[in-house]
Subunit: 360 residues, 4 copies
């Protein structure tokens, strides 16, 4: 449930509500909205829900209590109606602009990374991607350069000014990845690696969480909930295709997830057409499709010479293809950005206020 | 295999090749391209393939023989490199423009249909849709008005000038549906109803074939192959979502299918966001997404008062929503239409000429 | 809803209830159970449900009215608690024994069919299968011998005494297939071909309905409901695998469907491991698995020389493999048949009587 | 590729081959089979494959070199033709018997665990399961008792003599879990958590690896390959259902995976019907089905009072239901165990020797 505080609530009243919630064995999370404070009450409340609601409604400074039936709380639009905007160096994600995260699948060498970093920066990318620790299906495949790659990423960032994003695969890597790079990525295979989610929730870096290829939209939000509940509000979601019976593409990109997520959550949504399709020549049309359905960003793999790549050779764009993509992509985003309505009004009514228990 | 005739081939040489193919127990289909004739040889050739290729290569007027490994032949880009353009009344589908097929899920009454027909015509729809025979999951649900609905569709067409499309559910209905309406639709559940495909292949009306929700892209093309092989080249394909584990949306719209199909086949591709999502408020963003990935058309369900609809109440747009959609949709199409490259050059090389057996 | 008549209800009272139902625009279906009659009321009742229930409860001879929330009515266990037993020639399907339907994928010649028919009969098969009209993905593949195959099936039946089953692909074929063979099969691709379901509902032959590879269990039951509602109570269900992302097997055999269906419906359930796996060597373990979870029958493809088969060469057993399978299969069935509890008591409580509106 | 050593090969020759492999930058793994040694050569060999094969074939003591196209090597039947048998305390897994792993979803208290441990031991269970660290979809759900639960498991093992299995969720937990329990479980959500797989590969405890609900059989084997390649040969595989469009059951149990895995790999295979179906009343028929298709073991959740369980209340058996299951299960296993052929001969020919490069 959410406790909506009155506009006139004092600091002391807010503290009083939070203490009461803690005393009940639940955890309070507050969100300072544009004009008032909302406090989410999370934990297993069980049968005393009705009683607790009544008790909280009676506290000074409380305006209404809103029950919430969805399993995700802190990541829900009901809790936090305005969009979350993630700022990192000069990049702003979720403010209505289109973030472009580009770079090689794997960092293979300093030269390869710097060459591509300079190129994508020059063509409008706003975040540099590059894998250091690679989750590979086979134990015998190239597993990434590890810390050496992190150093190259840090250098590339210094040279280009671009913030960097790289995947982190286990709790123990979180600190070092956070030391060298700007955004932590949790990959599709680790979307429900709860130890990793908790660790990522305790670091002062934004986290991009990729949807598992076998995961529903609700499970993606529950995974994000772990990170936010552990203390990190700067979560970016990424749709990268789900597993279906279709075999022409590696996965099936679920573009309906973009407007759905914008309705259900305040977190920004990025689309990754490279991993979704597994085919270089499908990246451009689906990147355009992603921008057209309202994505906050696009992530694409770019390599100076894709045919020599140590991983994902089939799906990385070469430099010329990336330049061609960017020529098309940004104008499409400009064109459609005003077309999508406010997610608060386009979808079915959110639960805000519905069934709310007014104080008086 | 395909027999590519020389530019200088005479009528008699072409006939000679076709007779030879028939004599071998195979069936020849010719396609008169921009500058030459290609003859597809279909049937189960078995082990004598190599010998047959050599023999055909030796006939007068033959330039090359191209083997084709894909199971779809007449619907493939290799056979027919230029786009198929379907013309029906004033509508042109597949010429680079955006066809908008709109109208109610079911024709429920003359008034309802005429009201919506006039409205969608006024807001830019180019084809009128409306169900007469309805495939319903339950035998106890409304099954459509049948022939009475066909008569209303014919009247609506006369009044608005719009060509009409309606679903046909069995071979016996093909003639009457063809008598009253302009485009026959074969629904997702009947995509592999081969008797119906054959019947639709023998009628002088374009056919829109919807992808089954459990069907691969290759199976969609094989189903289209039935219609074309039976004699009807005017087939329109429709992506309407596939079945996955995700439950927020009714199905998962596979927008990658659009550029894939444009690469694999010469047939036009329409996207149906209404059935794919099952949610009215997702129709607009996914219609825009469909146009953005290069679809030749969009099909949407529109009802004057969706809440009173006898079928698909959840997903039909009302008139105002349709008007709002059209304001957004056509400019997006205009904007992106030049962005997608020629499907003959964007994807991997087609088999044309690859492994061809030259005559000389 | 179901109207449960009192044990003492007279013929006239029963007629009275049925007339009343018809007068309300609904359709009554009665089931004469072991000790009383239940009348299902089907049709779109809309908001007057409560009123209609009250009115029916007040009629003479009525004991209780049971609402039913499931969309399938006549096929539900609630309507018809005892198992449906299908009898055809000497075969009995659904009585606790194990029916074995065996024979070639396609009837390819009189000799081939008679050879296999005699063999499978000699090794315990109780029904002879063989395709006459073949639904093939490609229009250029062997489409079956048609009526000629039907004649061979009739002859094989006369010689062996086995009843025959063959697929029917369109409403127009129903009569001729019913003339020559004993059980009509509706294939997976036609599971939601409603015209065909209706036609099969009007013929005096049992129908085996295969689950579509993209269909849920509920949709399978709704498709069966079409046949039963059209007048044919002798429906056999068949689980033959659903489409998933796994590619080692052609489809994924859903053996949980067997106990689930036994709980939800009174219709017998057959398992087809040949089509599910697409691999000959997996037929035996999965046939055993099917028998072990309680299937009423197993359908397997058997060919004298599978490598020469005109269809499904990969999955047909040869004669020796069939003999080996039968040696294993029947004892497993004998062994497990007493292990599975009464479906009326094993699963969650059925809706029978739940929420029932008692008359007095 | 595999290097098959001659029966007469000396220790020195074996060492010579291994040194050569290491000098080439590849890694040798040897398997001492019944009558000879096979050395697997793993790593990215690239274009010098043919040359390397020739060179190895020329070394003293080498009989043949077998190329292997499958991506899994050490887990393949080709490398290790006899079954892997895992022994832990008195339990033997993979020797043809049926292992039954039973116990509560979560260890909730000492009493609850000891009560169930004694009961399942008394009714034939051979391994005690119980969750200590629980991977929960929601961060607000019960997360397990952690180390306290491990202590209860150790005590229960001492009292009953049963070896214990519990899930480990991150590399840091591997040591402590290995200290208190006998078999480490890696859950479906962590199947591709490569850091965890590597950590589990370095511990002296058997590991049961559950198939991810979005993972193919090949990916399951690749994940097992990580553990084996890291040094731990005692891996048990577990089929627990995959995600499909069917919603009656939580997942779709893929029983074809059992004979398939027995053909592809030497590792034992356990079936978990509790998680697959999510419904208590379906556990028995599918446990029987699992035994019938040849599983080496069954894992079931058992709780003294399932309705009070803190997790998975819907699917845990109560004690009486477990006793009933065991009465049925073991005789079925006894009955079918001789029916399934040798996996070396039932499926298609393995690659052993196929394309082998003989030395002479």
């Amino acid at each position: 449930m959410f406790v909506v505080m009155a506009r006139t609530a004092t600091e002391a009243e807010i503290l009083g509500v939070k203490s009461h919630i803690l005393a009940e064995g639940m955890t309070p999370y507050d969100h300072v909205g544009a004009d008032r404070i909302v406090i989410a009450v999370v934990g297993e409340v069980g049968p005393r829900r009705q009683e607790l609601m009544s008790r909280l409604a009676g506290l000074p400074g409380v305006e209404t209590i809103t029950p919430i039936s969805r399993p995700f709380k802190l990541t829900s639009r009901e809790f936090h109606t305005e969009d979350t905007i993630v700022r990192v160096l000069d990049a702003v994600i979720g403010d209505g602009g289109l973030t472009v995260m580009a770079g090689p699948c794997s960092v293979e060498s300093r030269d390869q990374l710097l060459e591509t970093a300079a190129f994508v920066k020059g063509h409008g990318a706003t975040v540099l991607r590059g894998g250091a620790f690679k989750p590979r299906t086979s134990p015998y495949s190239f597993q990434g350069l590890g810390v050496e790659a992190l150093r190259h990423l840090a250098e590339a960032s210094q040279l280009t000014g671009l913030p960097t994003i790289t995947e982190v695969m286990e709790p123990n890597q979180v600190d070092i990845v956070a030391e060298y790079t700007d955004i932590l990525q949790i990959g599709a295979r680790n979307m429900q690696n709860y130890s990793l989610l908790n660790a990522a929730g305790r670091v002062a870096r934004p986290v991009m969480l990729k949807r598992g290829f076998g995961a529903t939209i609700e499970e993606l939000l529950m995974a994000a909930e772990y990170i936010v509940a552990a203390g990190n509000p700067n979560v970016i979601l990424c749709e990268r295709g789900i597993r279906t019976f279709e075999t022409y593409t590696r996965n099936t990109l679920d573009l309906a997830a973009v407007p759905l997520l914008h309705h259900l959550t305040h977190l920004p949504v990025v689309v990754d057409p490279s991993h979704a399709t597994g085919k270089r020549w499908l990246v451009k049309p689906l990147a355009i499709g992603g921008a057209a359905v309202g994505a906050d960003g696009i992530m694409v793999e770019v390599h100076p010479r894709p045919d020599e790549a140590l991983s994902d050779a089939e799906q990385q764009l070469d430099h010329a293809q990336f330049a061609d993509l960017m020529t098309a992509l940004l104008p499409v985003h400009e064109h459609v950005r005003s077309l999508h309505g406010d997610p608060l009004v386009t979808g079915p009514a959110l639960g805000i206020g519905a069934g709310a228990l007014s104080k008086h």
